[in-house]
Symmetry: C2
Subunit: 354 residues, 2 copies
């Protein structure tokens, strides 16, 4: 306890100092720094000016005991290895900062579930929670609801669970890829899935297969990656190629799976896109790198982040009891050189390969 007290007591200006200088109460100082307390604009600017002149730094932590706010949003991210999530975390943290809040990061260690993180999260009395790349149990949803703690699932939703969720419209994305590949002339299609239990994977697959069926294409080959890693994409593609009648186009449930697949295909001597077209999902930065130059569905990260942070209602005096909503936002197909039309010479190549 002695440790910081000495350093701080000698240098720090307190709210009391500001109050004395202005001849107002200490609660006036607190209210000037609160986003929700009632205080006239005139008093507020007088306080802020004097506080700045004196070099006063409000102590958010101490204030939280009065306002019952910590100005902290917990962000739980299960995965920072997939390049999609650093982009998401960057956008989320910046958006949260722009609202006058900060991000307290929770990364479940391997083997830990989101529910294991819950007790810690409650101890820090965070104002709101965003769960990205992490599934939520109904137990945790219940605890957050009881505490009136706003919670948003990002890039996920859990059917039957009454919580706010923001996601790319993955069914629509899957349909768009089916239409696009069909339009290029592809008929022997394959889908490589990631984590089969996630809503993202399920919806991308469902949209893709449903639209293919509508277009008269049945028998789309499927391989399970198991997760969204590079290795899983590589291995699943190897298994696909071992089957009779290889596909002329593969849709991967994520970009990173697709990168693994592309490297495998090239190692096997196949040319992209002349022999086989490849489509991913996410549009992570390296999808635009010339080594991959991957056609993909761009996740509308900025809109998704904006929607998620809006749902948290940060800085609102009352957390209005809004019915839990799942917001699905459309992604756009970004066409690059990993896909091409199937002209006649490719049909010859196909014959040769068989």
């Amino acid at each position: 306890m002695a440790r910081k007290a000495s350093g701080k007591a000698s240098s720090a200006i307190t709210a009391m100092d500001v109050a004395r200088t202005l001849g107002v109460s200490q609660s006036t100082i607190s209210r000037a720094y609160s986003m929700t307390a009632s205080i006239s604009e005139k008093t507020k600017s007088r306080v802020l000016e004097t506080a700045n002149a004196l070099g006063y730094q409000p102590n958010i932590i101490a204030r939280s005991l009065i306002t019952r706010r910590t100005n902290i949003v917990a962000v739980v991210v299960a995965n920072l290895v997939d390049p999609f999530y650093p982009v998401v975390l960057d956008a989320l943290a910046q958006r949260i900062q722009s609202q006058g809040f900060q991000t307290l990061l929770f990364i479940p260690s391997s083997g830990e579930q989101v529910d294991d993180v819950l007790p810690k999260l409650l101890q820090y009395q965070v104002d709101a929670v965003v769960l990205a790349s992490a599934t939520l149990s109904s137990a945790m949803a219940k605890v957050c609801a009881e505490r009136d703690m706003p919670l948003v699932l990002f890039n996920r939703y859990v059917p039957g669970l009454e919580v706010h969720a923001v996601s790319c419209d993955n069914v629509a994305g899957g349909r768009r890829v089916a239409e696009f590949l069909h339009g290029l002339g592809h008929r022997r299609l394959a889908f490589v899935s990631g984590e089969t239990t996630s809503s993202t994977n399920r919806d991308r697959e469902r949209g893709f297969i449903a639209r293919l069926t509508e277009l008269g294409i049945d028998g789309c080959r499927q391989e399970v990656g198991g997760d969204y890693s590079y290795e899983s994409g590589y291995d699943a593609t190897q298994r696909l190629l071992r089957q009779a009648g290889p596909p002329d186009a593969i849709f991967f449930a994520s970009d990173v799976l697709a990168f693994g697949g592309m490297d495998m295909l090239q190692a096997a001597g196949l040319r992209i896109p002349q022999d086989i077209s490849i489509v991913g999902y996410d549009d992570v930065p390296l999808a635009a790198w010339r080594g991959y130059d991957l056609t993909t569905i761009r996740q509308p990260i900025d809109e998704m982040v904006e929607a998620a942070v809006d749902m948290l209602g940060l800085g609102q005096a009352q957390h209005l009891p809004v019915a839990p909503t799942t917001r699905l936002i459309m992604g756009a197909l970004i066409e690059r050189s990993s896909t091409s039309k199937r002209p006649v010479r490719i049909d010859l190549a196909k014959t040769r390969r068989r």
Copy 2:
């Protein structure tokens, strides 16, 4: 204020409830949850058992007013786009969590300096600060020292600034690359730098050039990327190739720069490693992907993170006044297929290219 009070008052068990049940004072409850307070093991376990049975969650925020600890470590990261930093952040956050602390994330928005983040950082009364991929001004170092707030620079040091710093031994890394390429028979070498003002870049370059000179090789070509991006690596390599007498090996100041360079070389029709050897720095996950399979210096992230968190002295009752130390940790050269020996047939190829 009404917002959460209602939800919490109805459900939350307070320290007072636990104290009443046990017939002890409330401060005994606080002490049981403190890592530094003096309390007998017996009393401590009695309190914790009862608290758990009643469903009490200690409020870290409220406790921070007594202990003057928030159990929060601020991590300032200027960049999450380079795949090196998500790996660092993941390791840092997990290590900080394992010590009973959480990471409060600060990402300066574009145009913002670390010093602009400082007032916010102080408001949250964090217990310690880690600055990764961010330079520190002497003003900020002074403020932290005055407040006795432990601070560590990660993957950077600032000459003349008396703060703790942990970094890979970049001079030694650069020397190792020079020796390795020389040993393979390369004599026409080039270096592509990233952000020229950073200590990482400066040291890698210095070690590389110094060792080459010792080995009798002068006139190493140099190109400036300007930053550590893929595009900068691509463009700098293009400029290198335009010069007369192209290099037979390039050392890039980071893996991502190298990926840009490799894609440029391949687009120009050069074969890696037959025509040109490539070495990067960092060993980010995708350096091992088959599409790049990049020889590189592996940054010892786990040791670096361990050293950095140790320096913060989290959970220690007294922050001992240790003289600021710069810890440099050796990285290892990871040899992959982007480098090869220069046999006779390559000399023929060189003649052809000229």
